[in-house]
């Protein structure tokens, strides 16, 4: 059987890409603007905060503990070789608070919630529920997108703090149980090494990542086409796009904060 390949002009591809960026920008901007327009769907936002925040807590607790413990385990050997095992608390603290805590939490929540949002909204699109909502005089952007964006940004901020803390606890467990380091010394080093810039960086990132996860998830959900297969496609694309965007934005925001507040 001959394989038929449809050739698409580069101009069309570029046009589609520009249109997608335009649509995404509009959805993202509207999700913020809706916060200043009535009605505000506080109940929906609370419900989403429960689904996203409380629902993601187990996975964030597990990954936070594991990453902190692994970071301590992997760096301990090198530090021991140079006689600097006591610095393990500082290393885990800097690593978790500035980078791994926000990044791993962001990626975990992206995998869990960007896919959930894309599939839920995508299913609503293909079953005409979004059209029904518009026909009933309700703005889906206000009712569905803004509560998800608000809840994700808010909850990811606190989930990241929890992941940071659990990472430090995991690191402490490895340092004291496997390498016999004093816990008080570990916590003292971990606490004293942190400066304003580290904490600032660690708290700005989850806000941006939360915005990326929710807007990308909602964008792919709301632009779903093509039935159940389309829902599956949107779900995958939402996870891939939000994860890649988190990594890219992470690099640039780190660079920007270093440029603004200076290197260590």
């Amino acid at each position: 059987m001959a394989l038929e390949i449809e050739l698409v002009s580069p101009f069309e591809v570029a046009k589609d890409a520009v249109r997608a960026i335009q649509d995404y920008t509009l959805l993202a901007a509207q999700s913020i603007a809706n916060l200043f327009r009535r009605p505000l769907y506080g109940g929906d936002m609370l419900q989403q905060a429960d689904l996203i925040g409380v629902g993601s807590l187990p996975i964030v607790v597990l990954t936070g503990l594991s990453i902190g413990a692994l970071l301590a385990l992997n760096s301990a050997n090198t530090l021991q070789r140079f006689g600097g095992i006591t610095l393990i608390g500082q290393l885990v603290s800097i690593g978790m608070v500035t980078e791994l805590g926000p990044l791993i939490t962001g990626l975990m929540v992206a995998g869990r919630n960007a896919s959930g949002m894309a599939s839920e909204l995508g299913s609503m699109i293909v079953t005409e529920q979004i059209d029904a909502m518009r026909a009933l005089g309700t703005d889906p952007s206000k009712k569905l997108v803004t509560p998800r964006v608000g809840a994700t940004v808010f909850m990811l901020f606190f989930l990241t703090i929890i992941a940071d803390l659990l990472g430090l606890i995991g690191g402490n467990a490895v340092a004291s149980l496997l390498f016999g380091l004093d816990s008080r010394q570990y916590w003292s080093n971990a606490w004293q090494i942190l400066v304003f810039r580290d904490v600032f960086m660690g708290l700005v990132k989850p806000v941006l990542f939360g915005f990326i996860i929710s807007t990308i998830g909602c964008y792919y959900g709301m632009s779903t086409r093509g039935g159940t297969q389309g829902v599956g496609r949107s779900t995958t694309q939402a996870v891939v796009a939000s994860s890649v965007l988190i990594l890219v934005v992470d690099f640039f925001i780190t660079k920007l904060i270093f440029a603004m507040l200076g290197y260590r």
Binding site: M124, E128, Q129, D131, R134, T138, D139
Partner: protein
């Protein structure tokens, strides 16, 4: 079959809206990529009348309903709904206008994560009405479609016909000035279809609601053109032959993106157009 009564007596018509037509299309065209679905079509739906839209699959019947509510934008032409030009309004402006119209989608489009009560009450909850009043009005609307017992069920627990009736309850709960039905009896058994046709006729004859109804079932539309809902006996009454023209019912037939017929049942039945004759035979 008798249908229960709905205490709200008439649609809440907005004062100062002087247009004689509930819906008017003026040279409207729309194409999806290369496929021209509607090609400069024009028609009017007078207030209080029900117009049945016919045509083969893909002839643009459902598109007309979506265009009417501004859910789709035409490539050219103007559309008027309840005296306002839909085609010149922004999405935000349209939300207010859409609240004056009810729609029943082909696949019901009920919110699957909400109970029947919350589906039917959706508009009322958006308006911030008290829970007691919502419960009372939802029960009245569900009683109207004979589904009061399903109030706490989810749409997935209902049959296709029940879902369609819940969708009707959701559309009529605010007593809209116009109703749009997209194949309300499609794929249903004859008994359920008759129930739904009765509900639609009751809206037309008792509440005088203007309606556009997409359907493939000619017999439903002819029943609607030859019968009237008697509010005293709460039943359908067949009209004598000479009185058929007194029923506020008309037919519109689409073919290849054009309107090839727009008139009453008698004109349709006596048409000499070979395509129309074949279609109604």
């Amino acid at each position: 079959m008798a249908t229960p009564t709905l205490p709200i007596e008439s649609p809440a018509v907005v004062q100062g809206d002087a247009s004689p037509h509930a819906i008017a299309f003026d040279n409207v065209s729309i194409a999806f990529e290369e496929n021209v679905v509607l090609d400069r079509i024009s028609f009017q739906l007078p207030r209080g009348e029900t117009k049945a839209l016919f045509g083969v699959a893909g002839s643009g019947k459902s598109t007309i309903l979506k265009l009417t509510l501004g859910l789709l934008r035409p490539d050219s032409g103007r559309i008027f709904l309840l005296g306002q030009e839909v085609t010149s309004m922004s999405e935000q402006e349209l939300f207010a206008l859409r609240r004056r119209v009810g729609i029943v989608f082909q696949e019901s489009a009920l919110f699957d994560s909400l109970t029947v009560r919350d589906n039917v009450a959706f508009r009322l909850m958006e308006e911030g009405i008290s829970d007691e009043e919502i419960d009372q009005r939802v029960r009245e609307a569900l009683r109207f479609v004979e589904l009061e017992r399903t109030i706490d069920m989810f749409p997935s627990e209902l049959s296709g016909g029940m879902r369609r009736r819940v969708a009707i309850a959701r559309a009529i709960i605010t007593q809209p000035e116009a109703l749009l039905y997209d194949s309300p009896t499609g794929g249903l058994d004859p008994v359920t279809s008759n129930t739904i046709v009765e509900l639609i006729m009751k809206q037309r004859d008792v509440y005088k609601t203007s309606a556009l109804m997409v359907t493939h079932r000619l017999q439903d539309a002819f029943t609607m053109a030859t019968h009237q809902f008697d509010r005293n006996t709460n039943q359908l009454v067949a009209l004598p032959k000479g009185q058929h023209c007194e029923v506020a019912m008309s037919f519109l037939l689409l073919r290849d993106g054009k309107v090839i017929f727009d008139g009453d049942a008698h004109q349709l039945a006596t048409s000499r157009d070979p395509y129309i004759r074949e279609y109604i035979s």
